[in-house]
């Protein structure tokens, strides 16, 4: 049997919450669990959310936006990272610029995004792209740079061309680290989407839902939305971890 210790604190928090809600007795500050749970039990219903769509509808919209921004980030960052990992020249040209841009939080790009792409999907996807881009890029560079020199030299002595080395050695050897970059990048995009959906003109998505609920004083809907955001984040992270165990177990076992 697994140890119950990890569950102890969550259970205490929930009990504490319910007790606190009872004493505060103000659903706008802290709604009772009994008003949150029904929303979570009816994820396909929009009767709690005042016509902004069900939890599932909004989650699907958010996931679509994240998938788009995340895929674009990966499509740019992975090839760029491989190039920078392989070529000292390319690395020298780009490194300073990337180091300069990297510490800027994705949300600081919001005004520029609005100026460039106006209100709408493109702006949101742009913010998500920025969020996912740097972890994927840096991990890819790191993965490519940490390829064992012997792996490349073995390939050379066996007659491999540059394309073989890229496709059969570099990509495979760096894949576990790139995967870690994707996992971290996805986590950040998922955080970004909520904030990006606060941009004016947005009418769907989990971020929009919780902000909209705030305007109507529906704290129970806000909390239900937060719970869903958290659950989706955990599930996707677990999917990445499962992929890591399934495909890249060799990295941990290698001596």
């Amino acid at each position: 049997m697994r140890s119950p210790v990890p569950l102890l604190l969550p259970v205490l928090l929930i009990v504490g919450w319910e007790v606190a809600a009872h004493f505060i007795d103000n659903p706008f500050i802290l709604p009772s669990l009994t008003t949150v749970i029904p929303i979570l039990l009816h994820p396909f219903s929009d009767k709690f959310t005042l016509g902004t769509g069900s939890l599932v509808d909004n989650a699907a919209v958010s996931l679509f936006r994240v998938a788009l921004g995340f895929a674009l980030a990966a499509l740019i960052a992975i090839p760029l990272g491989i190039g920078m990992g392989r070529s000292a020249l390319l690395n020298n040209i780009l490194d300073a610029t990337i180091e300069l841009l990297r510490p800027i939080p994705p949300l600081a790009w919001v005004p520029l995004a609005l100026a460039w792409f106006k209100i709408g999907l493109v702006s949101i996807v742009f913010i998500i792209l920025i969020g996912a881009f740097f972890p994927i890029l840096l991990n890819t560079i790191d993965g490519v740079k940490s390829i064992k020199r012997t792996w490349v030299e073995v390939a050379l002595t066996l007659g491999a061309r540059e394309s073989d080395i890229l496709g059969k050695v570099i990509l495979h050897g760096a894949a576990p680290t790139i995967w870690t970059g994707l996992r971290v990048g996805f986590g950040i995009s998922w955080m970004c989407v909520v904030a990006a959906e606060w941009l004016p003109g947005t009418t769907r998505g989990l971020g929009y839902l919780i902000l909209y609920a705030y305007n109507f004083g529906q704290t129970n809907v806000i909390i239900a939305g937060m719970v869903i955001i958290g659950i989706i984040g955990i599930v996707i992270d677990q999917v990445f971890k499962a992929g890591e165990r399934r495909w890249f177990s060799w990295r941990a076992l290698e001596r």
Binding site: L156, T157, G159, K168
Partner: protein, 253 residues
């Protein structure tokens, strides 16, 4: 086929625009199907010499010739076996062996057959579907031997391939290597710092000095095979070799 290493010199640039000479005027020839050991102290540049022969590094001057013809860069007639584990951990044993065949454009099914042949030669038929991390150190080095042989090189370049193994496994692999050498008729250049290993394996020893490495002795080993490591003859030859490399001109530290 004769492999000739002619006047190979290698200078390394170090910070401060100084150059350090690693190899100095190295010259020797290796005959067809000969087993030659390059013996020298650690860090003397043996590995650099082997890498130059393999075409992984360039010499500052001098040339590598096969049958009098200068070869520049890598040659499909040579395969190198590295000191440390060089298998691809994401590929099965079989797919490691087929690597050189794949990049050479061989059809997958044919490559698998060839791989099976060489895995059989090194006694690993039953491990084709395993991953490198499931294998012992000795088994892994057997796979690297199979992988090198699969591309059918004439010359095997071996860089202290058994250096990381325990003594028993090392002896076992030396015996197996000799069997494979006799079966496949390869020319082998085997780099080592172990006098025992060199005397046990080689037809001829090329003894290098420490930096800059020069050839200080070429010692033929006239011992019938199979050689008995514990025999008097072996001890005598080993003593001779140790005496020769103890001369001031060789000064193995």
């Amino acid at each position: 086929m004769t492999l000739t290493i002619r006047n190979i010199t290698k200078d390394f640039l170090v910070p401060g625009d100084q150059s350090i000479c690693a190899l100095s005027e190295i010259t020797f020839s290796v005959a067809d199907e000969e087993f030659v050991s390059v013996l020298g102290p650690s860090g003397c540049g043996k590995t650099t010499l082997l890498r130059i022969i393999a075409g992984l590094e360039y010499a500052t001057s001098g040339s590598i010739e096969i049958n009098g013809e200068i070869i520049s860069g890598r040659s499909p007639r040579m395969a190198m076996i590295f000191q440390e584990y060089s298998l691809y951990p994401w590929r099965t044993v079989r797919d490691n062996v087929t690597f050189g065949l794949e990049v050479g454009g061989m059809h997958k099914s044919q490559a698998r057959e060839v791989a099976q042949t060489y895995l059989h030669l090194v006694g690993l038929d039953d491990f084709a579907d395993r991953y490198p991390h499931e294998l012992s150190g000795g088994m892994r080095q057997r796979v690297t031997v199979a992988r090198a042989l699969a591309i059918k090189p004439q010359i095997l370049l071996m860089d202290e391939p058994f250096g990381a193994l325990d003594a028993q496994t090392r002896n076992r692999l030396q015996e197996e290597l000799l069997e494979i050498w006799e079966k496949t008729k390869k020319t082998i250049i085997f780099v080592t710092h172990s006098v025992d290993e060199a005397v046990y394996l080689a037809d001829r020893l090329i003894v290098l000095t420490s930096r800059p490495a020069r050839v200080c002795e070429v010692i033929p080993i006239h011992l019938a095979r199979p050689r008995d490591r514990t025999g008097q003859e072996f001890a005598r030859v080993r003593r001779q070799v140790l005496d020769l490399i103890a001369q001031p001109k060789c000064s193995l530290q």
